[in-house]
Symmetry: C2
Subunit: 481 residues, 2 copies
């Protein structure tokens, strides 16, 4: 047998990070391009990751007292126009349905770019009394934003997400909800995707169209650029006013409620890829890996592997499956072992389990870690206890490695020259002072491509503005996706 | 305290079945109308039912070897037009996006009415060799069909569904898949929704646009009309030809695969409502009831219920929850007990658990069945074993009741006069002979509103045509939703 070409080629990260990303997405079969620009196809392997993420996020959303519902895809133009900032922000990105059932429509319908308009106008019907509050509803849905430059998962015209929309009696309750969900996002992303994030508030120029305050979590990608991985908005009374939501309060007065909205999307998959992947492809955190372990049986030099190794491999698979491990057996006979190794490495499976005739003689197998390729012989007896432990270690090691990368790529600068130099060479996060002036923020963006990712939580930390030297507060900058 | 008005009024089924249905859907808060005609809002209580259905259906789809993926919402016009019968069937129902990102689009994009066009054109890229087959993919998605007459769940412009799309090497395998999924649908609907269904093949005039053969499951609603609750299509090679799917077979010949598609939707919720509900509202099968048991604590005549009954009620809730029962405690203090009884009856909760000071003295509670209101005192000790058994009995009783209703409303007729009389008075299923002529089928439809719901599975059963007296086969007729 000729040796197979073991790998579909992946551009090295150091050569072209952006091309590396696309290679990984396409060759690991996470996603594919569809016929409409920016509308990706999420392939089964990518979708299985999304399903695992969804299941965990959905549990967290429900544990914090929310329920799911489903609101219509199509929003009449007049509904979208009720909140002025909101429509200005989203209208240019809308796709419009103008023909339905063979006839021109009287009013164009937008495919939802987000559902505040639809949901708030519905809440206006549902809320009559303070007893109807809080309303704590989440929706899993597809949304559409007409994007000029698109990239699978990171920025797509259509994407999948969850969007929470809540109503509260008081401003404090709305703020508490906004921060609670920011916390849910932060712990989800860190615990499940092993992506360490900053969390904080957005400046006015970066906030959601129509919001009072926007909070976000921001992760640092392998190329030193930041990715906004989730947002939580305190909408104040803006939407309640625009959509006429009123209720009788505890004192029988007609008043407006306070609202919030918060969302995370398939974009997180892109962030996860760019946080952990290497030149051999994906590296998946065990908690969302479709296969946590892939068994690669090694054929005997002579004789039939159907007799020599496959029966034992199936036993091991059963043993691990019974322990709740997501395990796949690669019994394809058209591929050689080396091809399989490279294939599963590219797909980011946390552990490869090698099992050959010699291992079977010794009642053991060899577990190979995806990230550092370290090999550990493990006795078959007790494998069902050893593997879950190794998966847990792998998960926490990934988070630690990413934390270290983030720390190593965060620079505190004291002058604007240093700021510019760091942004030109090393990138990453820059911690620096800002005087609160949007004009300064804009200048920094134009000159360095860096934007303020967040203003840290808690009381502002005093720091001189890195551009003007004036009194200011510490904020975190980065170039961003 | 004044006695509360215990119920929002529901039109009796016998007065106006259609209005009864709408009353139940709206007043039990399953769904609401949205601003765009035919696009319903699925409220949290209705969506929780859908989530329970989804979870079980998804498990069945995966257990039969399928994986999930996600394909784009928007389909270019030229893609939809490739299969002639398909586009003729669906084009009139399409919603068209003509403007995106502020500009007129070069080519209009349809919001998917179904995804054969999108998925088959993608499969043409993915399939090269017989080793790539079978492809067994399912998608959970929203779809849009511009309907003239709409009704929540039963016929809506936008609806949620799952659609499976598979490719196979041989015609036999495609037929096997088509029937396998029909079987999955039948057992899901009967075991989970307690809706007994006929299954069989559709006549050519009722088949899916572009299919070789369509199979369906058909349930009988409380008003004697049938509801198609799921369809499974053997698409032959029609779509493989139209979308240019080819592969190298085991003999290195370029050949076309055989494809299938199959789907079920939120329509099943409508069917479930019309199968089980009564004049007091919904009756939910325990397997998909968001609350299987609602605890209604009965306040003491004197004294504080916070001391007298609520602590024990919380204990009971905990006890049942630990046993995996979905249990809700209605501790609202603004409503009287009678109101709560009627409220939960309307919402179809299988069992109400009454717990008052006297029950607590006797270490018992009283369980009241939603369907026949029978009351059973049950000792609190062992409640966690008694309730799951009672739920299982409730579930199977519902199915039995519906089976009996179906049997009582199925009539074998021997003349067309009898056919017309039954359809005018009693409705239900009619079993009769048909000569296979579409013109006869059409005449029957025009004169009686009845269509052939299915031709039974297996070898045709000989029967004289009920209209012409010619040789024919036995088929099942009904008026249908």
């Amino acid at each position: 047998m000729e040796p197979e070409r073991t790998m579909k080629e992946i551009t090295p990260r150091s050569v072209d990070f952006s091309q590396w990303y696309l290679d990984v997405v396409l060759k690991a079969e996470l996603a594919d391009y569809g016929p409409v620009k920016g509308c990706m196809i999420i392939r089964p392997y990518g979708y299985a990751i999304w399903e695992a993420m969804q299941a965990d996020m959905d549990r967290r959303i429900k544990e914090t007292g929310h329920v799911n519902a489903y609101f219509p895809l199509l929003i009449p133009k007049s509904y979208l126009e009720k909140e002025k900032e909101h429509v200005e922000g989203f209208s240019p990105e809308c796709a419009w349905v103008t023909i339905g059932g063979g006839a021109e429509l009287e009013e164009p319908l937008a495919i939802r770019p987000t559902s505040e308009a639809m949901i708030c106008s519905t809440y206006a019907k549902w809320v009559q009394s303070w007893r109807d509050l809080p309303i704590l509803i989440n929706q899993w849905a597809n949304v559409l934003r007409w994007e000029k430059v698109t990239r699978p998962f990171l920025r797509t015209t259509e994407f999948l997400w969850q969007e929470g929309h809540t109503l509260h009696e008081t401003e404090e309750q709305a703020e508490e909800e906004t921060l609670k969900m920011l916390g849910v996002y932060k712990s989800f992303v860190e615990e499940i995707l092993a992506m360490p994030v900053l969390h904080g508030r957005k400046t006015d120029s970066e906030k959601f169209a129509g919001a009072l305050k926007t909070y976000a979590i921001e992760a640092l990608m392998g190329d030193g650029k930041a990715l906004q991985a989730g947002t939580s908005h305190n909408l104040g009374q803006h939407f309640a006013e625009a959509y006429g939501i009123e209720y009788l309060d505890r004192n029988q007065q007609r008043v407006r409620p306070w609202s919030t909205s918060w969302g995370t999307s398939t974009r997180m998959i892109g962030g996860m890829i760019m946080t952990h992947g290497d030149d051999n492809g994906l590296i998946l955190p065990p908690k969302i890996a479709p296969h946590q372990v892939v068994i690669v049986p090694i054929p005997p030099r002579k004789g039939d592997w159907n007799e020599a190794v496959l029966p034992k491999a199936r036993e091991v698979q059963k043993q691990l499956r019974a322990a709740g491990v997501r395990v796949h057996l690669d019994d394809r006979d058209q591929h050689q072992t080396g091809y399989k190794y490279a294939d599963w490495e590219m797909r980011g499976v946390p552990f490869r389990l090698e099992l050959g005739p010699k291992d079977i003689e010794k009642d053991q197998c060899v577990l190979v870690r995806r990230d550092n390729r370290s090999k550990t012989p493990v006795p078959l007896a007790g494998l069902e206890r050893a593997v879950p432990e190794m998966l847990a270690t792998f998960q926490s090691d990934l988070l630690e490695r990413a934390r270290k990368f983030q720390a190593d790529n965060t620079t505190r600068v004291s002058s604007y020259d240093e700021f510019k130099q760091v942004m030109a060479e090393k990138r990453g996060f820059i911690v620096a002072g800002w005087n609160g002036d949007p004009a300064v923020e804009k200048r920094i963006k134009e000159e360095t491509k860096a934007t303020i990712r967040v203003m840290p939580m808690g009381d502002p930390i005093e720091a001189k503005c890195v551009v003007t030297g004036e009194k200011g507060r510490e904020v975190w900058f980065a170039q961003a996706y």
